[in-house]
Symmetry: C2
Subunit: 171 residues, 2 copies
DNA sequence: CAATATAGTTCTAAAATTGAACTGTCAAAT
DNA sequence: ATTTGACAGTTCAATTTTAGAACTATATTG
């Protein structure tokens, strides 16, 4: 499967993965949330090759996750800042950090603590139901096909002998 | 940077990315949450090459995200099911889906809807502060070094001439 | 006995990533 | 006036990963 195909899958998770689902992109986004804005900043913070960094930044701009804005003329220089679409990735970032905090810390404890400005306390992120406010767990959630679901495959038309070139990516 | 180095970074996000931060692994995990358990099931649902699938499943088992359990003798067959550590990835999955639902849907709408058993309603996942229950956004959160933080680099010891083989990955 | 199902392994070709050097503009230092 | 350094990339060969296809192995079904 090519990676641009991912974004056309009828699956929101696959589409998201098509945009941010690779290792360097996720690390670049971490830096964005830690207020890194410039090429050299990303490069020296991450040790990514300049080639890949340029490539990934270009893609994130194309996708509307980052905006490239000039911060000086002559020589023209730009910085990369999160758009609203990019800022909306925050829950994903926090979920990743929290899982690491829960399952991947060593004896020394957490590398970072998070303080919530509004209440002034150190906190963990909790994912809750928008309707009832209760914390979510996989077992309490049922999925239903939505309006954008792939139409159910007609079982009768599935010829066992046919060798499809690539199989579906969505359940 | 090698990928096993990621897991030793003093950054919970980098460590998490080291475990689940590649495209196929994320898609495999999506299938796990949709109740796929067997090799052929993953393969035909995803169209992943058998080689990579075997490799990724092995890694997820090694990391304690999946458990490999026999479901028949002769020929010995196993299925892959989520451990608690794996189930704890649920908020990450939901955050990915929700971002896609918000920013990547086409005219037809969402591919999947989610029903919360407890309250019976279709919902969106919302990330809130564990202490005050308010929804979180990047601007309201401040980070502090935790007990497992990398000790601050002594500025004086940074020799500009020294060419470090690989730069730090953590801010 | 041949075909099918399941869960892999092995191999080669193609694609992505690394590492290192190179380009170009401008400001500051010698 | 010339060299040095900061910044933001680009280019290219070598290595690593992934894709695609075929093959192995065990047991059941027709």
């Amino acid at each position: 499967m090519k990676w641009d195909e991912l974004e056309e899958e009828p699956c929101s998770m696959a589409r998201t993965i098509g945009v941010i689902g690779d290792r360097w992109t996720l690390l670049i986004l971490r830096e964005c949330f830690l207020r890194t804005r410039r090429f050299e900043g990303f490069q020296s913070a991450l040790g990514i090759t300049r080639h890949l960094l340029a490539e990934r930044l270009k893609k994130l701009v194309r996708q509307g996750v980052l905006r490239r804005i000039p911060y000086q003329e002559s020589p023209k220089r730009h910085e990369y800042i999160l758009t609203q679409k990019g800022l909306d990735l925050y829950p994903i970032m926090m979920a990743l950090v929290h899982w690491g905090d829960t399952h991947m810390v060593d004896e020394r404890g957490r590398p970072l603590l998070h303080e919530h400005r509004k209440c002034g306390k150190m906190f963990d992120p909790v994912m809750v139901c928008s309707e009832c406010g209760e914390p979510l767990s996989a077992k309490e959630v049922h999925v239903h096909p939505g309006p954008g679901a792939r139409p159910a495959l007609a079982k009768a038309s599935l010829d066992k002998k046919a060798k499809p070139k690539s199989r579906r990516v969505t359940a």
